[in-house]
């Protein structure tokens, strides 16, 4: 029995972390957030590390690793608040497109193609949104689709069928959110040409499950970063002639954050491991993992900001990028209440 990262996994972690430390400084994040830059250079760098190819099978041009490795990367991207289309293009799209559009999958692996994800309406349609299909044409509206720079979108209709559309077959409008480290858009379908990928809702669910695990891992990393920043700030900042880290109120805030987040690491590992190896446990574990980590993440985001005092509230230290990232992850692909409702349904505890 071994429930921990292998040597290879630790190596992967180190090399991605090194790249992000060098290339994705807070300054870089700020430039992307201010739209002075897009995420393409970062994605190019990650492509050279093999990240878009990570979970794509070797015979399709990929690296052939699994969900645990993907979670390791997602956690690091969250830790560095990295702008990138990782979750949509490198993870959810290849899972859904494997065996259906292997040509595109190979292009994703090579970094020459980005596929966005428009699943929101199949999970819980909001406002006037909703997507329907007829004769391989899509109509309706999808909100908060991931990645404004994608070449294609994988769209789930209201009844969870998967279609692929090219970016120029739809009208695409930027949707501003609190989180400026990742882009989302409104997709307007008007009898738009689309290719049917699957009518099997299990295909939709497999892509959704791994996306949810990745968002949970992203929050784990973002939360860890916020705790690290809070603890190190507290050790430096002095008030009443002593470091605020020696005030018990501050220590206890930090201890509560650590006590909440530490089990989340095991939870992400387990959920990712289950995704590849324990099919009967996957969905329930995934729902709980994303729901639970979203709750802990919310607490960490608030509390670590408080530890910084006024500095936490300003733009100066940039802590808010992580705060917003955690907020974004919480709502995307299912909020905690919705996930817990699904968890109850999966166990026959809700209709």
């Amino acid at each position: 029995m071994e429930f921990g990262l292998s040597q290879e996994q630790t190596l992967l972690q180190d090399s991605v972390n090194r790249f992000l430390n060098d290339q994705v400084s807070l300054d870089e994040v700020r430039k992307v957030a201010a739209a002075d830059k897009d995420d393409k250079a970062i994605w190019q760098g990650l492509t050279e590390l093999g990240i878009p190819a990570l979970i794509i099978p070797e015979d399709k041009g990929g690296v052939g690793l699994g969900a645990v490795e993907a979670a390791i990367v997602a956690e690091l991207l969250g830790y560095h608040a990295t702008p990138s289309p990782f979750i949509s293009s490198a993870i959810m799209a290849p899972v859904a497109l494997a065996g259906k559009r292997d040509d595109l999958v190979a292009n994703i692996a090579a970094g020459t193609c980005r596929v966005g994800i428009a699943f929101g309406e199949a999970i819980a349609a909001k406002d006037k949104a909703g997507v329907t299909a007829s004769n391989n044409k899509l109509s309706g509206l999808s909100l908060f689709a991931l990645d404004i720079d994608a070449d294609y979108y994988l769209v789930a209709t209201n009844d969870q069928q998967l279609y692929l559309v090219t970016a120029n077959a739809v009208k695409r409008n930027n949707m501003a959110t609190i989180d400026l480290t990742r882009t989302t858009c409104e997709l307007v379908f008007n009898e738009s040409e689309a290719e049917l990928i699957s009518t099997d809702t299990e295909d939709f669910n497999r892509a959704l499950d791994i996306g949810r695990i990745m968002l949970a891992a992203d929050t784990l990393g973002a939360g860890q970063n916020m705790i690290d920043q809070a603890v190190s700030y507290a050790k430096e900042r002095e008030q009443f002639d002593r470091p605020i880290a020696s005030f018990q109120a501050v220590k206890h805030m930090c201890a509560e954050m650590a006590a909440g987040l530490e089990p989340c690491r095991s939870m992400v590992w387990y959920a990712a491991h289950a995704y590849d190896n324990l099919p009967e446990e996957t969905r329930l574990t995934t729902c709980h993992t994303k729901a639970h980590i979203s709750e802990v993440g919310k607490f960490v985001a608030k509390t670590s900001t408080e530890v910084h005092g006024g500095m936490g509230f300003t733009d100066l230290v940039g802590l808010h990028y992580w705060f917003k990232r955690i907020g974004f992850n919480r709502q995307l692909l299912g909020s905690p209440e919705l996930l817990r409702q699904q968890a109850a349904q999966l166990q026959g505890l809700a209709a």
């Binding site: 050790k235 006590a259 095991s266 709750e295 809700a350």
Partner: protein
């Protein structure tokens, strides 16, 4: 990542299950008499399902230490809902300590009767002036001839009124620094000069006590470790105690009872489980339990595999686990509403009134064994390396 224990262990798991199936009817319930409970304990020891790694010479089963087998036994007994090995402070705290630091004579004298349930112990640590700051304890022992002579008072001593013996911290080196002046003594509760006054706790039961010592004479050799080393000896026990508190397996088994309850109980004619707010709270707890179970797996794995660090994962268990249990019991009470208030000898209680008694008891565990606040001090100072509180100038 490899979560399987392997085929050898799965065979072992089948053996445990078969044992449980075949012996179910002999297992005592909370209402059985003490003789049945002791008989069951003997059967468990003979089969290696408790006191498993304690050497045969001291009355145990004598198996090689194997964390996975111990884990499988714990899982299967928790799952089946039947009574596993006896607990209590003697078995779960004193015995491991004696095995680590006790003399050969002490192991031979005390381990066997303790694990067989014939010798019941209480833990005499806390004093009116020494709770979280345990090392400031003042009960003292002075050497007189071949005896220690003890004077002072303990408080919150659980089961002192039922105990045959006590393991007790006393100050023997009044001139040494506070952590270095303490010794760890064992003595019979029948020794002249001991007075026990019961204290009723919030559950309505007098389970803990004040214990007064007036010129209590204890033979010099009844010390564990050397003079002045009592603090180290006690800390070996505290880590065993903390591992026991906050155990996620116990939370899981209570959670399963809670699901049953919510599927049976109705609120205005509608099943409680169909009430969306209660159901959401139930699912939140399930998520927290899951997180703690996976955290536990990581701790187990770090013991099996060199180089895995799970120290922070371990440090948070008592804090998170006891708070979780308290919340879990509290949800059952909220689900029951006014029925949740029924207590004592009352036809309307559910699960023998355990939701209320556990709700309160778990609060006792949040306080006992190092309060939640002390746990947070430990997590921040040792886990996050934040500075200690400066001491006020003398």
């Amino acid at each position: 990542m490899d979560l399987s224990f392997g085929s050898e262990y799965e065979t072992f798991r089948t053996e445990v299950r078969d044992f449980i199936t075949n012996n179910r009817e002999n297992a005592p319930s909370s209402r059985s008499n003490p003789a049945d409970a002791k008989q069951w304990q003997k059967t468990l020891i003979e089969n290696g399902y408790t006191a498993r790694t304690i050497p045969e010479a001291y009355g145990g089963f004598g198996a090689k230490p194997d964390i996975i087998r111990s884990r499988i036994i714990a899982e299967e007994f928790a799952d089946s809902g039947i009574q596993g090995g006896m607990g209590g402070q003697g078995i779960s705290m004193l015995v491991p300590t004696l095995l680590e630091v006790g003399s050969e004579a002490q192991k031979l004298e005390f381990v066997k009767p303790t694990i067989e349930g014939d010798m019941v112990w209480c833990q005499g640590y806390s004093e009116p002036g020494a709770g979280s700051d345990l090392a400031s304890l003042r009960t003292n022992a002075v050497m007189d001839g071949d005896d220690w002579v003890i004077n002072g008072q303990k408080i919150w001593t659980s089961t002192a009124h039922l105990a045959d013996w006590i393991f007790c911290l006393v100050r023997t080196e009044p001139d040494a620094k506070k952590h270095h002046g303490i010794s760890f003594l064992l003595f019979s509760m029948d020794t002249p000069g001991i007075e026990i006054r019961p204290l009723v706790d919030m559950t309505g039961v007098a389970n803990f006590n004040e214990v007064f010592f007036t010129d209590v004479r204890v033979p010099a050799h009844q010390i564990v470790g050397n003079r002045g080393q009592g603090w180290q000896v006690a800390n070996a026990i505290l880590s065993h105690e903390r591992d026991m508190l906050g155990n996620p397996d116990a939370a899981l088994s209570r959670f399963n009872s809670l699901i049953d309850l919510m599927q049976k109980e109705t609120i205005a004619g509608e099943k409680a489980i169909n009430h969306p707010v209660f159901r959401d709270r139930l699912m939140q707890l399930q998520g927290r339990i899951m997180a703690m179970r996976f955290n536990d797996m990581r701790i187990l794995s770090s013991r099996l595999n060199e180089g895995q660090d799970a120290s922070l994962a371990r440090m948070i268990v008592k804090l998170q686990g006891t708070e979780l249990r308290h919340d879990l019991e509290g949800l059952a009470i909220d689900v029951l509403g006014e029925l949740g208030l029924a207590y004592g000898d009352n036809d309307y209680t559910r699960n023998n009134g355990t939701w209320q008694s556990q709700y309160m008891y778990q609060l006792g565990l949040i306080i006992g064994g190092g309060t939640s606040q002390i746990q947070k001090n430990i997590i921040s100072e040792r886990g996050l390396e934040m500075p200690r509180e400066p001491r006020p100038a003398q």
